[in-house]
Symmetry: C2
Subunit: 587 residues, 2 copies
Amino acid sequence: MYRTHTCGELRLENVSGKVLLSGWVQKIRNLGGMTFIDLRDRYGITQLVVDGETNKDLSDEVRELGREYVIQIEGVVAERSNKNPKMPTGDVEILLESLKVLNSSELPPFTIEDDTDGGEELRMRYRYLDIRRNPIRENLELRHRMGFEIRNFLNSLNFIEIETPVLIKSTPEGARDFVVPSRMNRGEFYALPQSPQVFKQLLMIGGMDKYFQIVKCFRDEDLRADRQPEFTQIDCEMSFIDQDDVLNSFEGLAKHLFKNIKGVEIDYDFPRLPYSEAMKYYGSDKPDIRFEMKFVEISDTVKSNGFKVFDDAEYVGAICAAGCAGYSRKQLDKLTNFVKSPQVGATGMIYIKYNQDGTVKSSVDKFFSQEKLIEVCEQCGAKPGDLVLILAGGKSKTLSALGDLRLEMGDQLGLRDNNKFAPLWVVDFPLLEWDEDSNRFHAMHHPFTSPKDEDVELIETAPGRVRANAYDIVINGVEIGGGSIRIHNEQLQQKMFELLGFSQEEAEEQFGFLMNAFKYGAPPHGGVAFGFDRWVALFSGAESIRDVIAFPKNNAGRDVMIDSPSSLAQAQLKELSIDVVEEDEEN
Amino acid sequence: MYRTHTCGELRLENVSGKVLLSGWVQKIRNLGGMTFIDLRDRYGITQLVVDGETNKDLSDEVRELGREYVIQIEGVVAERSNKNPKMPTGDVEILLESLKVLNSSELPPFTIEDDTDGGEELRMRYRYLDIRRNPIRENLELRHRMGFEIRNFLNSLNFIEIETPVLIKSTPEGARDFVVPSRMNRGEFYALPQSPQVFKQLLMIGGMDKYFQIVKCFRDEDLRADRQPEFTQIDCEMSFIDQDDVLNSFEGLAKHLFKNIKGVEIDYDFPRLPYSEAMKYYGSDKPDIRFEMKFVEISDTVKSNGFKVFDDAEYVGAICAAGCAGYSRKQLDKLTNFVKSPQVGATGMIYIKYNQDGTVKSSVDKFFSQEKLIEVCEQCGAKPGDLVLILAGGKSKTLSALGDLRLEMGDQLGLRDNNKFAPLWVVDFPLLEWDEDSNRFHAMHHPFTSPKDEDVELIETAPGRVRANAYDIVINGVEIGGGSIRIHNEQLQQKMFELLGFSQEEAEEQFGFLMNAFKYGAPPHGGVAFGFDRWVALFSGAESIRDVIAFPKNNAGRDVMIDSPSSLAQAQLKELSIDVVEEDEEN
């Protein structure tokens, strides 16, 4: 037996008990003649103590230990004279009686502490040591608990978890697939799923009624800031439901997690904001509504005053930053640089300081009267002491830039508190978006999304105006999930494929089995998929989803710990009937 | 709203209630002027009724419906005069008031009934229709409940579920890997995991203490009878444990599932049978111990009697088939043919009938006295009325053939009842097995398995005799899981690699990161992995694991529903820097 208790378990009531513990040496300190060891395992830290005066041999053994040695000890629990209220085990210590080294350790390449001296690359190379650190361990524990609670909740609603295949078929639509050469089917390939979309719809056609799966998905993208080639979805689908049923079910899931994981009781319905309003008031389809600061369109107020920037603009919009009238030249310049940065892309920024004394000071004083500027301020709901920030230009670009500015001001004003949560649904997304490059419509969500009944007639006349039964769930400006009610009618599905520019043949080749399935009694159905990594990251406060994944890949798609991907032996390639094309062969 | 209740929900207490139901038309019958519809969903079947006399229009609408149409109905719950006690909803029916067709259906290619007229190939092509059948639906529901209970149980023991990567690194050892070309890392490949073995060991080194995962694994094998290229494991690992801790924990899991899934309370400890005894008494490392019929070695008794077959045999073994002394010539010939079939591979079979009158009749009467034959019978525990069956030859082949004969007799005697469960642990597996082809030792389990402490000294002198801390869990002759205590010592691990014929370089290239990890304080650890598909199949009584997988592949590794694998566009291959090698290019 290696232990009677874990290192996080002992309390005052265990005093005088003889115990066996096992764990890692976190730290050794000598104080006077006493030696203290912090012994660590997943559950906590327990202090061990040995008196060098009375127990010299054991004290000498302890001196041989190093950081991260794995040891097993025997001793008696004693009450500490000097208690540590910050540790659950801080009331007790173990009077060491014997010790056995289970394994030694070389000096780790970085310190196993909450704040480590290891850079990300080093920590990734030694991820198994990084995982010993509290922040990573806690993230993985959180991830487990979230997965567990998600399953509990969905099971209680009669959802059943069904595994869909990982070796599927490549479809050219959408992001790039990872593919897998088939040895038994020469020259043919499987693909790894970007999502189980088609399979969950087939399960609904198969009468499974309520399906979910916490499942790995794969996307061969050039990795931007916080993407991984493999990621985890909470994938869900329901039959005989309308949009409200779906939203209510998964709002329930979110509330369950808020309550059971974060201890936050949300006793109100999540706001349901149409996409058009999200864009109008926040310039984003994933607005952070922890704070207001809604956009006010002031085009009508400020146009035709001889200020060319406004007069030429398709859109002039403003936000009011409460209490910021005192912003310095330097602060305002910094904001101007922020909006002019390539990521934001505005051409400039106009401000109006609504001073405490009721006067205004603006960067466009010479074009506008004080009265006009005060009118603008009041239109924006500004009070004396507030600062109004204005962007102008093409509508969609300006809305987006103003959205970035709003978030920046939210940060500056401390309005984006990580311990506050503001969830909402964004609904009524457009069914289609126009793609300039290919000069045709693309599905905004995916080709199976149904149009709103009341908009169906617009499909022929004004496809761009058709709204979809599609929705996203957004928390604190992070889109953590989205879904739609699907088309369950074969004819409508075919019309959608036409609209998206699929030839009959292409549609047949790629989705033939799904369209065929629709012939045999498909029920009305719809669902949602959540980004599990992102949701865990949001709840953990992690900056990157890498921090909530046990063994993540870097931005080049490499696992630097196992050094993968790697080259294959020629024999292995031959068996698969494939060959690597050399760079010069390509032309 | 599509429904107020499911089709499995209504009872007598709902009588007079107005309800909305949605589902599939299972069957329509006309009886006199009445029309009855069986409406089906995942939850059950509810009978709808319409009176053609009083409600001609609705009755006409019903006549338009076909099998598998999806409809929504409104009606009032009524008590049936002619109750059906076999259906949970059999006390009531719905007096139909209105009906809406949600979707029509073509005639399905096979009947959606428990006993369908569809062959396997056809059902696989239309798997989404096959899933509507009760047997498949129930298997998927069982699979969900088993997964759910496994997670509940392991969570209660402080195991945490951690996802390990799917895109990993190819290792030439063991079965073939599926590989994935990396577009971003030209000429390099990921591999799909055959198991998360290395990662779970790294998680233990990372201090996660108790890990589990229900996870897809992949093996590019030529598919035998009941294998799938992708399959699901319940993968588990623990730290600071010895073999008893692991066995007790997972025996607990098995008991939990028996109780909560099968309603079978197992109140005894699972037998722990050494591998050597399993082979000696059952000729198998996965014995079916639902019945006794142990082997008795009779070499000493029957040798040197002038019967060459016995005299030349390395091993002569017998089993006693109770009450079978009356077996006919024909029955005995059939058994002889069975043991001589290529799958079994014996050269012949000898029988002794121990007649009710105390006489014996044997196929070797002319070589042995009655007394001798009675001696053999009694050595085998036979009583008058029993039949003794004897095989002779090389030891390992004969043990195996006798094992097959034992199972056959178990079947013939009805001793292998699917509703009876006899679990056991097989322990003390050999560490190594000699491979004739490569003329060297292979790891019987895998290269990380630890030898028994008391056998460590044999590693140098008699490696074939070293027993491992390795174990399998077997239920009714099916191996549903296995595992081992791992080596946690770097030097011992290196010695193992040497013994297995890895050069320092090969070991470094393939397992370098693991061996490196061992330098930083690896705890004692071990674990187990269960074949989830097989366990579900065992509990469901399914003949094949295909029956408990939503979308299985056939024996050629093809998904005939989505027609995968398939060829890729040349552009896609080019982007991946690979090319398919034509057959004639190969030479």
